[in-house]
Symmetry: C2
């Protein structure tokens, strides 16, 4: 296939990180993105060039284009952390070459060259060859949430205890994990910020749902910790809530940070617990997990594709916005509740 | 050997932790210890009963009897974290039984039944059978500092990088580690609080010595981090100093906390580093290391004994105080600079 020399993309306006953090919603496109044409990128030795079929939009994308995600922006590069498409060129690495011509779900966190464009660049290790039975709408949004859910639940399963705890319990990611956990008899404990989220989450399989805004939260937390003894803490929030949870956890607990929804300082309340209770603090980033645990990635990827193929999982689509119309339409489409918004080049 | 039914000991006055922390020095004995007689303890299945020849006094003992160490006190039990003596009885576990009659260095952190007494109880795994060539004075103080130094330097060696960083660089422990590191061509970076400590520590092998009180400390820290890229941080201090160091360290760094000299809050400045830079925060406790790394313990123990046998290491003795005189004499003896104070039952 002959490739063009130029391509259209939504390009980052800012560089590095912002100094003026703003809220999570995307109030307008212009401060952060501009439509443009750039030279078609060349994949590095271990990378793939992908003709994008469909790209998804996640909260982490919005944080990133605003410069408030943990990776620095590069001005003038395309945005977009994931998508689905056809591999049209690769580097010289044998695994990368093996992807040539394949339809893949891909993530661009490591390559830092985004999916909101005609073509994207991803590390071959961040590309997932797809079964024909997986729709583009499911594949384009398969990595950031579904595969992360499977990877994080895999960590829980490897640790062995049935009980574990998560902040931001009402997020799409946590709901997926709760569902997986319920099927296998695990006991997720989650925190939420609104009372009305409690029955919903209990309904899908949460063993305990704690309202972090309730007056008796710390007492309820201690009681649940004592009864359930969870040793894995999957944390999207940090700040004082996460500090309190980690402090109340038993010996040999692992605080696994994967998000930073609270900008308040994150304090280790009792550093002595690290010494005498063998507690750990670490992070989770899917790109790193995919690199480190190739043997565990394969089964997780197959599981995600099976679930999307047989309908156990299905992505709710709000809208598919053509790349040309994205500047005008994205903020309003993203403001609609539920469902996912996609960009189609 | 017929064992007595009672024994003399220095017994803990307080229980659990204190609510009114005080300074590191031992200003008086009476608030914390009382001399007394208690029934001879019976070792548990995996434990040994040791007739104490000599017990040492470490800063961690003083913190512990005051209730400001990370383990809770049990009122009425003997104090004292380490010593040397003869195993006179054991539990039924085969490894414990194999120690019967042997002269051992021992640590009581796990058994929580101390060495400042005629007899002590230690886990068999916390007992080290001794070569005849090791003096009691060296054996009684062999675990808390020398073996910890070897264990922590073993962590550095396993990580592989030549450069590493330590707080409280002028401590006895850090000086031992600096000496070990120099012999094997490693590059220790240490922080100190007084300018006059810098030439001494450079003289024994520190690659860089940073004065944490200097006005340009953070700039100097950043420069050294950039040049040396240390990934292991052995931290006795916590608080703002440790937060600043961890924040300045490169990808895949490990902050290993083993002490808490600063009571100020310990903040994780950039939790995003845990996610995207794969940084970790953990603790080090020798008792746990001895349990987890039995294969690495053997060589470390042999190395410590060789160094004490051939004179490369030697414990400076300030005084040996008879157990009967300890209440009256310990505070004044401990106030003397350098050297170690021992208790002889």
């Amino acid at each position: 296939m002959a490739l063009p020399s130029e391509m259209k993309a939504l390009l980052l306006v800012g560089d590095g990180y912002t100094r003026t953090p703003s809220a999570g919603a995307l109030e307008a496109m212009e401060p952060y993105l501009r439509p443009g044409s750039v030279a078609l990128p060349t994949p590095g030795p271990t990378q793939a060039l992908i003709k994008v079929n469909l790209a998804s939009i996640n909260p982490s994308d919005v944080a990133f284009i605003k410069g408030q995600y943990g990776q620095p922006r590069v001005q003038g590069r395309p945005a977009g952390f994931e998508g689905v498409g056809i591999v049209v060129a690769t580097g010289s690495d044998p695994y990368a070459k093996s992807l040539e011509g394949k339809r893949v779900a891909f993530a661009t966190g490591v390559s830092n060259w985004g999916s909101w464009a005609d073509y994207a660049v991803a590390e071959a290790a961040s590309c997932i060859p797809l079964l024909d039975t997986v729709r583009d709408e499911d594949a384009a949004a398969m990595i950031v949430n579904p595969l992360t859910a499977l990877a994080m639940f895999d960590i829980v399963k490897h640790e062995g205890d049935k009980a574990f705890i998560m902040t931001a319990g009402a997020s799409q990611l946590c709901k997926l994990i709760i569902g997986l956990a319920k099927e296998e008899g695990f006991r997720p404990i989650v925190t939420v910020r609104r009372e009305e989220q409690i029955p919903l989450l209990k309904g899908i399989g949460a063993a305990h749902v704690l309202n972090e805004k309730a007056a008796d939260f710390e007492a309820a937390l201690r009681e649940v910790m004592k009864a359930e003894q969870p040793r894995i803490f999957l944390d999207a929030v940090t700040g004082p809530l996460a500090s309190a949870i980690f402090n109340a956890m038993p010996k040999r607990s692992r605080w696994i940070v994967y998000g930073r929804l609270d900008a308040e300082p994150t304090i280790i309340r009792e550093p002595g617990q690290l010494i005498f209770q063998h507690k750990h603090i670490e992070g989770f980033w899917l790109a790193e997990w995919m690199r480190q645990f190739r043997d565990r990635l394969g089964p997780a990827v197959l599981e995600a594709q099976k679930r999307f193929s047989d309908g156990r999982w299905s992505t709710d689509v709000t809208t598919v916005v053509p790349l040309d119309e994205a500047m005008a339409r994205l903020p309003a489409e993203l403001a609609k509740p539920n469902g996912k918004v996609f960009i189609k080049p």
